[in-house]
């Protein structure tokens, strides 16, 4: 059961990373270079959490609850700095930085929801 969930999550991450790569290429070809960079930022976040998942699996040693706790805890902890950076950017009206930090936070929110959907069987 746990293997199925892990495999499903890994596939989801891979699909998302591939899609971002495809969007990145399309946007670059279309001359929308900044938006292409946003896709790269998103891909990096998916990649970070794919790694977090593999570490969670290793640390959990087959215990689904441990894997879940590890992943959820990291998914809360890692974006703390991004939220702070977003707040700081907001204070300085730095729209450019705000956009990047918001994309990171939106992506991690999407990851949390997908994780819950697959892991907790909310699907």
């Amino acid at each position: 059961m746990i293997d199925q969930k892990i495999s499903k999550l890994n596939s989801w991450f891979e699909d998302k990373i591939a899609l971002c790569g495809q969007h990145n290429q399309e946007l670059n070809v279309d001359g929308r270079t900044d938006e292409a960079i946003f896709e790269k930022v998103k891909a990096n976040i998916y990649d970070v959490f794919r790694t977090v998942l593999s570490v969670a699996v290793k640390t959990g040693s087959g215990d689904a609850d441990k894997v879940h706790a590890f992943f959820v805890q990291r998914a809360e902890q890692i974006p703390v700095g991004w939220a702070a950076a977003l707040e700081k950017a907001r204070e300085h009206d730095d729209t450019v930085r705000m956009r990047t930090e918001q994309i990171k936070l939106d992506t991690v929110q999407e990851i949390r929801e997908e994780f819950a959907k697959i892991w907790e069987g909310a699907e």
């Binding site: 279309d30 001359g31 929308r32 270079t33 900044d34 938006e35 946003f38 730095d94 729209t95 450019v96 705000m98 956009r99 918001q102």
Partner: protein, 184 residues
């Protein structure tokens, strides 16, 4: 517009979404959500692009009721690219300094005790040594060929070549009255 400002503007314009925003604003002033709807991109992405455009001086904003309206800064787009190129470069002083160092290096290499050792094969270098020799001629004075030859001979024995090359380079000119130094 300074060189730095021009670079920032050109960098900013090299993005299709930003160009599309400018095209929309060329029609009428718009707010973020309206631009997002028109261009099919999210409002935060439009805000991101508008911020970059505002930083580059391409757009300005003003408050209108509940909205922040954005408008094209037409003044900046009325500046021609030629005007930007002609603007004195921040690099100009550094370039002038490098040119002066190079010039002195050529002079040191080809002159010894005020005498020209050889005519440089490279045109750029020859131009430098001709510039040095032509300093011996006064402006607004007609010289006979003999006078020209004597002045050049103080630098180099083959005065015919130097005299001919100075005319070729536009440093001196001549007619039936004689030779004179051309004002640069």
């Amino acid at each position: 517009m300074t060189e730095t400002e021009a670079i920032r503007l050109f960098k900013c314009l090299s993005d299709k979404s930003r160009l599309q925003i400018l095209k929309s604003l060329a029609i009428e002033d718009m707010y973020v959500e309206r631009l997002a709807e028109r261009l099919g991109i999210t409002a935060p992405t439009v805000s991101f692009h508008l911020k970059k455009l505002a930083d580059a001086g391409a757009v300005t904003s003003y408050k209108s009721q509940y909205y922040t309206m954005y408008s094209l800064n037409k003044d900046i787009f009325e500046t021609s690219i030629l005007d930007i190129i002609r603007e004195k470069s921040d690099e100009a002083d550094a370039q002038a300094q490098r040119d002066a160092i190079y010039r002195q290096k050529v002079i040191d290499a080809f002159f010894e005790y005020g005498k020209l050792k050889a005519i440089p094969a490279q045109r750029k270098k020859e131009r430098i040594i001709l510039d040095v020799i032509v300093q011996e001629f006064e402006y607004d004075r007609i010289y006979s060929e003999r006078e020209v030859n004597i002045i050049i001979a103080d630098f180099y024995d083959d005065f015919c070549t130097i005299r001919r090359d100075m005319i070729g380079e536009g440093l001196m000119d001549r007619d039936t009255r004689g030779y004179w130094r051309v004002k640069q």
